[in-house]
């Protein structure tokens, strides 16, 4: 399709378009023409959040692995989805470690896709298999020990992550994409069917990023903030329909096709405005 020729007129002198005009005349990227926005504080706040989540993740994983090792099936099953939520909330950070992330969170299918065998499988989902599929904790003590060690290593290495505004904004959208591609199909927790816990945590992780950036977003475009508020609210309301007990969710198997379709649509409707958060950089 053809583009209308770009003409400069007095109507067009806006910051956004000035940047574009720059692009028309030179090969400089758009942002080069602009005063970079200072988001040091926001980046710091997000890192703090990630570390906080990781601290909790280590503590909860410790409880979980203890339950596994002491053979307390009930306790282990109860702790499993809750402990994972801390990980899921801060996934954009955990994902930056290409080696640790799979050791903690790989599904058997991921391992096999990478051309490896079951013997290379470790982490949460391996224990999930034991708990729900084999109904045992026996033989999982070593896996539990390794998981705790990996978790602690992850926590230690989070300090070293170079958090950037781009990582935050891309991360928020990635958290949603994670939901649309694997949570919504129930592929993430194929034995425990605790996908809705991960789902909730991913959305909370995305919301946290939005909250940190909210003042900047509002300053640029208040309607975007209002729209995001409404879409987060709508999605949480849908998730609430599937709650059970104080902080639990029903098994993913109980959802009807209509339920998952509704959830999926609400995620997509949140995703569009969420992807506009980048305006604060322009």
């Amino acid at each position: 399709m053809k583009k209308m020729p770009f003409l400069l007129s007095t109507l067009l002198i806006t910051a956004a378009l000035a940047g574009c005009a720059e692009k028309e005349t030179s090969s400089q990227p758009v942002e080069a023409a602009q005063e970079p926005i200072d988001l040091q504080e926001e980046v710091g706040a997000y890192k703090e959040f990630a570390i906080e989540q990781m601290n909790e993740f280590v503590l909860e994983t410790e409880k979980f692995t203890e339950a596994v090792k002491s053979g307390d099936m009930e306790k282990a099953k109860e702790l499993y989805p809750l402990a994972r939520m801390y990980f899921e909330r801060s996934e954009p950070i955990a994902e930056s470690f290409g080696d640790l992330d799979p050791r903690i969170d790989a599904r058997l299918a991921d391992i096999q896709e990478a051309g490896q065998g079951e013997e290379d499988w470790s982490g949460y989902h391996k224990i999930e298999y034991g708990l729900w599929e084999e109904s045992t904790t026996e033989g999982y003590a070593e896996v539990a020990d390794q998981l705790l060690m990996d978790t602690k290593e992850l926590r230690a290495r989070v300090e070293t992550v170079d958090v950037t505004p781009d990582l935050m904004m891309t991360g928020a959208v990635d958290l949603l994409n994670e939901v649309s591609t694997s949570k919504i199909t129930g592929e993430e927790e194929i034995y425990s069917h605790t996908d809705l816990y991960d789902f909730q945590a991913n959305i909370e992780g995305a919301e946290k990023i939005f909250r940190i950036l909210e003042p900047e977003i509002t300053a640029k475009d208040q309607t975007l903030t209002e729209n995001l508020e409404a879409k987060f609210e709508a999605l949480y309301a849908l998730l609430d329909e599937h709650r059970i007990g104080e902080n639990g969710f029903v098994s993913y198997e109980e959802l009807t096709a209509e339920d998952t379709k509704q959830l999926s649509e609400a995620v997509n409707q949140l995703g569009e405005p969420l992807s506009q958060m980048g305006i604060i950089m322009e």
Partner: protein, 424 residues
């Protein structure tokens, strides 16, 4: 919907709409510079012009919407949408948003003028870049469910003839291919252009509409002696031989266009779109003898002539008999049954091939039947006449269905569907 959403619609200062406003001004400046006229504003949205210089372009503005009597294109992307917004003003806003986008799409232009920022996704999804308008047409309509929804306060505007289609014999209509509050029929001579149009209209309305069902279709028009011949369906029979001529105003006013006082005033110069997703059982058809195939339709396959005649357009004589005294055309053939009805419709059929049916491994292929008529009853009468008797029923199953009131055409300065909201 919350009050924040309404506020959000009123204030048109979001980045996306800012870009559109400033972008449109850029287009305006460009248009002025090249002497094609200016861009004005009305109702708070941009008024864009048909670009007379665009290649393979169909006009957006006119008495009637495009995609109805326009020449049939080789591809269609049909989409049925449900509306998520909760008030009439938001619904109006939706059509206002779509209007300048539709003009641009039909001009073969990108939805953004200036280069987008790099930290947000581009406004135009981009896959039609480098392609021309490809005779894209966009036809918008509204279904009975929109009028039934009290939130929109449109029940008094529902034309009495607009109702969900009745159940016809042998129908196996699935909810996943039926109904919808709004339809967009995007036809183009390029499948990517047609898809791009719907994708971008739906995306620009994110959170306000949701896709209910969609179907792609294709058709090819052979040429005979340099003249366009009747296209064939997937059973290889000519489809549309008795179609009224879209070039004839008399025919169209009689068959397709709602005349003043024939319906609600907002429907004048509009029409009704009936869509049916009809699965054709190719496997069973392909093991049917040629004679049985021809008896099913009542026509010869290759020539398209009525059985016993030579040429496609030879007069149909249901009483003619063969040497043994049997009628040439059996009484339960598709054609014989269809011809008993006086009603006429304008058909714009497309074939579809959408992979396989999971349960059976059979082709999921058939006819995306689209017809236009000034009253859905015309279609209903024909379909009822085919009834259980139609020999063709053995080879087809109706899976999807929809009926939509298509607005009259848009005048420059107005927006799609404006009369629905303004006329009393």
């Amino acid at each position: 919907m919350t009050s924040t959403d309404e506020k959000w619609l009123e204030k048109k200062i979001s980045r996306r709409s800012m870009l559109k406003i400033t972008g449109a001004s850029a287009a305006g400046a460009a248009v002025l510079a090249s002497g094609m006229g200016g861009v004005a504003k009305a109702f708070g949205f941009d008024i864009l012009e048909d670009d007379a210089t665009a290649q393979n372009k169909v006009k957006f503005y006119g008495k009637h919407q495009s995609g109805i009597t326009t020449d049939t294109t080789t591809h269609v992307y049909f989409a049925s949408l449900n509306v998520l917004v909760g008030s009439q003003s938001e619904l109006q806003e939706l059509f206002k948003t779509w209007t300048p986008l539709a003009v641009r799409l039909m001009n073969g232009e990108q939805l953004e003028e200036a280069s987008p920022g790099v930290f947000t996704p581009p406004d135009d999804t981009g896959e039609a870049a480098g392609l021309d308008a490809s005779n894209l047409t966009l036809t918008f309509g509204v279904g009975p469910s929109l009028f039934a929804n009290k939130k929109f306060g449109l029940s008094a505007k529902r034309p009495s003839e607009l109702n969900e289609l009745p159940h016809f014999p042998k129908d196996q209509i699935a909810d996943q291919f039926s109904g919808g509050d709004i339809c967009i029929q995007a036809c183009a001579d390029d499948p990517q252009v047609a898809f791009h149009a719907v994708r971008n209209l739906v995306r620009a309305a994110s959170g306000k509409v949701t896709l209910k069902w969609t179907q792609t279709g294709f058709t090819s028009t052979p040429k005979e002696k340099d003249k366009k011949a009747t296209p064939r369906n997937l059973f290889a029979f000519k489809d549309g031989t008795v179609n009224p001529s879209p070039k004839s105003d008399i025919d169209m006013n009689e068959v397709v266009w709602v005349q003043p006082n024939e319906s609600q005033s907002w429907m004048a110069s509009g029409t009704y779109l009936v869509v049916r997703k009809i699965q054709m059982h190719l496997e069973t058809w392909d093991r049917t003898s040629l004679k049985a195939q021809e008896d099913t339709f009542g026509r010869h396959r290759d020539s398209g002539a009525p059985i016993g005649k030579k040429n496609e357009f030879d007069e149909v004589d249901l009483d003619s008999k063969d040497a043994t005294g049997n009628p040439h055309i059996s009484a339960d053939s598709h054609m014989a049954l269809a011809r008993k009805v006086k009603d006429r419709i304008l058909r714009r059929g497309f074939s579809y091939a959408s992979g396989l049916i999971d349960e059976t491994g059979a082709y999921d292929a058939g006819l995306l039947f689209i017809s236009f008529q000034k009253n859905p009853q015309q279609f209903i009468n024909i379909q009822n006449a085919l009834g259980r008797a139609d020999k063709l029923n053995e080879y087809i199953t109706h899976r999807g269905s929809g009926v939509f009131a298509c607005f009259p055409g848009v005048q420059k300065g107005s927006y799609i569907g404006e009369k629905l909201f303004s006329a009393f």
